[in-house]
């Protein structure tokens, strides 16, 4: 079951990457990043069956960092929305070359 869990984690990670690259709505891109974080968490939990409980402690830290990241990222999206009245990433060109 560990191999199958790692394969599931790889599939979820690739689907998340696809979502980040394909969508234009900043909030959905952000959701897809959460999906990638989750895929990595699943890989950590699966491998913790082989190499000890430390993997699960890392998942705990990843979840805390994900919560902090979600709060700050959504705050950035809110302040961008105030400025442009949109969350479409095509409109945010201030940092483009």
């Amino acid at each position: 079951m560990i191999t199958e869990a790692l394969i599931l984690s790889a599939i979820l990670f690739v689907v998340g990457t696809f979502g980040v690259l394909v969508r234009r709505n900043a909030i959905i891109m952000f959701l897809c990043i959460e999906l990638q974080l989750n895929a990595v968490n699943l890989a950590f939990v699966a491998l913790s069956r082989l190499v000890g409980i430390d993997g699960q402690v890392f998942v705990f830290f990843v979840m805390t960092v994900a919560a902090a990241e979600a709060a700050v990222g959504l705050a950035i999206i809110i302040s961008i929305f105030r400025h442009y009245e949109s969350v479409d990433v095509n409109n945010f060109n201030l940092l483009k070359w």
Binding site: L12, R23, L50, D54, M63, A68, I78
Partner: protein
């Protein structure tokens, strides 16, 4: 039985992951994401990580997803009924990157034999630790001894995140 359950939850997780990417409305994406998180939590249970399964449901599906939903509602994005995919030209690099990643991962899986061969002493001890300390205690024991510094730093990170989120979302800076 456990294997069948695993495959059922894996199928739900992958299907809802595609739902997240392809749903028309942001709220639909979000509900698919909750379904993915719940099925991943179920696979955590099958992998005997019961504490993390509970945290996944409470923190991820409960708190973080509600935060996302709150922002979607606040910005009034609930009724965009057309899919906001990128321009077709921008899709080509996306498919190229995803194809390269899938190919690379498939090669890694074919090259290395993940399984009983990688089992270490600590891996064998995990079931004993779960029996001795319980699902929470088995994680708490290393968390508050070996990883105490990381734990404290995570607390500071959360404090900084609270201050940062407030400063960024405030109306006048």
């Amino acid at each position: 039985m456990v294997d069948i359950l695993f495959y059922v939850f894996a199928a739900v997780a992958i299907g809802s992951a595609f739902g997240v990417v392809l749903a028309r409305t942001p709220v639909g994406s979000l509900l698919f994401m909750v379904s993915t998180l719940a099925s991943v939590a179920a696979t955590y249970v099958l992998l005997e990580a019961h504490f993390l399964a509970a945290i996944q449901i409470i923190v991820y599906a409960g708190a973080i997803m509600v935060l996302f939903l709150f922002v979607i509602m606040l910005l009034n994005l609930g009724h965009e009924y057309r899919r906001d995919l990128k321009a077709p030209l921008a899709m080509i690099p996306a498919f190229a990157v995803v194809g390269a990643m899938a190919g690379f991962i498939a090669r890694v899986f074919r090259a290395t034999d993940v399984g009983a061969g990688m089992m270490t002493e600590a891996g064998r001890g995990i079931d004993a630790a779960l029996l001795e300390h319980g699902a929470v205690g088995a994680i708490a024991q290393p968390l508050f001894t070996d990883y105490i510094v990381h734990f404290e730093v995570t607390g500071i990170l959360l404090l900084v995140a609270i201050v940062g989120a407030l400063a960024l979302a405030k109306r006048s800076v």
